[in-house]
C-alpha cells in the first residue's frame, strides 16, 4: 500500500499542469460580443452596410478579426482605433468629433432651432393679423380675407374712414 502513496501526488501534479493552460486562455468571445462592436463599425468596402449585418466574406473576416482582438484582451476603443488606422474614419458609425465632422453635430440642431424660431415668428404674425382682422367689419363678413396682407387692411380702414367723414 505504501508503494502507491505517490500516486495521488502524481495525479494532482498532472492535473495542475493540465489545467493551468486552460485557465490562462481567454474564453472565445461570443457572436453577441463581436456584433456589439461590429455594429459600431461600417463595412469598409460595401457602402452604408453595418459590419454586424454585412454578408460578404470580407466582413466575415473582419468580424473574426474583432473576435481575435477581443480574445487578446483588446478594448472596444482599441479595436475601433485599429479599424480607423487601417481603413479610415469612414468605418465609424459615428464620425469623430474633429475638424469638418463637427458640422454633422452642429448643423442639424442649429437648423432645427432656426426652424422653430421661424415657425414661432410665422405663428405670431398670423395671430396678430387675425387679431387685427377680428375688429374689422369687412373681414368679419368675409372671413376668407382674414389672412389678407396688412397693407390691404390699412387701405380698407382708410376708405372706411373717408366714407364716414363724407357721411
Amino acid at each position: 500500500m505504501r508503494r502507491f502513496s505517490w500516486v495521488p501526488i502524481l495525479v494532482f501534479i498532472s492535473l495542475a499542469v493540465w489545467v493551468r493552460p486552460v485557465a490562462a486562455q481567454q474564453p472565445t468571445p461570443s457572436d453577441d460580443e463581436v456584433n456589439a462592436i461590429a455594429s459600431q463599425l461600417y463595412c469598409p468596402v460595401c457602402e452604408n452596410t453595418p459590419l454586424d449585418v454585412c454578408p460578404t466574406q470580407a466582413c466575415h473576416d473582419w468580424r473574426e478579426l474583432i473576435r481575435q482582438m477581443l480574445a487578446e484582451g483588446k478594448t472596444t476603443d482599441q479595436i475601433k482605433q485599429y479599424f480607423v488606422d487601417h481603413y479610415g474614419a469612414r468605418v465609424l458609425s459615428e464620425p469623430p468629433r474633429t475638424g469638418f465632422n463637427w458640422l454633422v453635430y452642429i448643423v442639424p440642431p442649429l437648423a432645427f432651432l432656426l426652424g422653430v424660431f421661424l415657425l414661432y415668428r410665422a405663428f405670431r404674425t398670423w395671430k396678430l393679423v387675425a387679431a387685427e382682422s377680428a375688429g374689422d367689419p369687412l373681414h368679419a363678413v368675409a372671413p376668407s380675407h382674414g389672412s389678407a396682407p396688412a397693407a390691404e387692411n390699412e387701405y380698407v380702414s382708410r376708405v372706411e374712414e373717408e366714407l364716414r367723414k363724407r357721411n
Binding site: V45, L65, V84, D85, H86, Y87, G88, L110, A151, E154
Partner: protein, 195 residues
C-alpha cells in the same frame, strides 16, 4: 389723407441684419459643400495625363522596397511606377496576380520599373497568406487609412492598376484585371528607354 399708414406691429419686425447674413452665409456654405460633393461624385477617377499626387505606402515587413518598409511616390521619380490595387477577398485579383508577378520578374531587374502592390481594405493576415500563395515578391503594403486609393479612384473596383511615367504623370489606367503578361508589356514597353 396725408397721414402715414404703417403695417401691423407684427409685420414690421424683421430678423436683425446679422442673423440674415448668417442664414445666407450658412445656406451658401451648404450649397458649396453639395456642389463640391457632386463634382467629386461625377469625377471619381484620376484622368490619364494628370500629375499623380504624392503618397507614402507603408509596406509589409516581408515585402519592402529595397530595404525600406516605406516608399514615397516622389522618391521613384525617373522610374516607371506600376501601382496595382488588390485585396485577398477579390477573386479576379487572384486571376491577374501571376501576370503581374511575371511582369515584375521581367522589369524589376532593369531598375527602370517599380511595382507597388496596394492592399485595399483587407485583413493583414489574409493579405500575407495571399501574397505567399501567389508567390508575389514585389513591394506590397496595406492602404492604411484608405488614403491612397481615393487619389486614383474614389469608386474603386478591384483589381485596378495605374501606370505612372518617369515624370510622375498617369499614363495608363487598367480598370479590372490584366488578362495576360503581354497586355502588361504593351503598356510598359513604350515607356522604357531602349526597348
Amino acid at each position: 389723407m396725408t397721414e402715414k399708414t404703417s403695417p401691423p406691429a407684427g409685420l414690421r419686425r424683421t430678423a436683425p441684419v446679422w442673423v440674415q447674413v448668417l442664414i445666407w452665409v450658412g445656406l451658401l456654405a451648404v450649397l458649396i459643400v453639395l456642389a463640391i460633393g457632386l463634382f467629386h461624385a461625377q469625377n471619381p477617377i484620376l484622368s490619364v495625363g494628370s500629375k499623380v499626387p504624392n503618397f507614402t505606402l507603408t509596406l509589409f515587413d516581408k515585402y519592402p522596397y529595397q530595404t525600406s518598409t516605406q516608399v514615397r511616390l516622389s522618391d521613384l521619380r525617373g522610374k516607371v511606377v506600376v501601382v496595382n490595387f488588390w485585396a485577398s477577398w477579390c477573386v479576379t485579383c487572384a486571376d491577374e496576380a501571376p501576370y503581374v508577378e511575371s511582369a515584375w520578374q521581367e522589369y524589376g531587374p532593369t531598375g527602370q520599373v517599380v511595382f507597388l502592390g496596394v492592399d485595399y481594405t483587407d485583413v493583414d493576415a489574409k493579405a500575407l497568406d495571399y501574397l505567399k500563395m501567389y508567390n508575389i515578391t514585389y513591394p506590397n503594403g496595406p492602404d492604411l487609412g484608405t488614403r491612397i486609393t481615393p487619389i486614383f479612384n474614389r469608386n474603386i473596383a478591384m483589381p485596378e492598376t495605374y501606370v505612372v511615367d518617369q515624370q510622375g504623370v498617369l499614363v495608363h489606367q487598367q480598370i479590372g484585371a490584366f488578362q495576360s503578361l503581354a497586355e502588361i508589356q504593351s503598356v510598359i514597353d513604350p515607356l522604357i528607354r531602349g526597348r
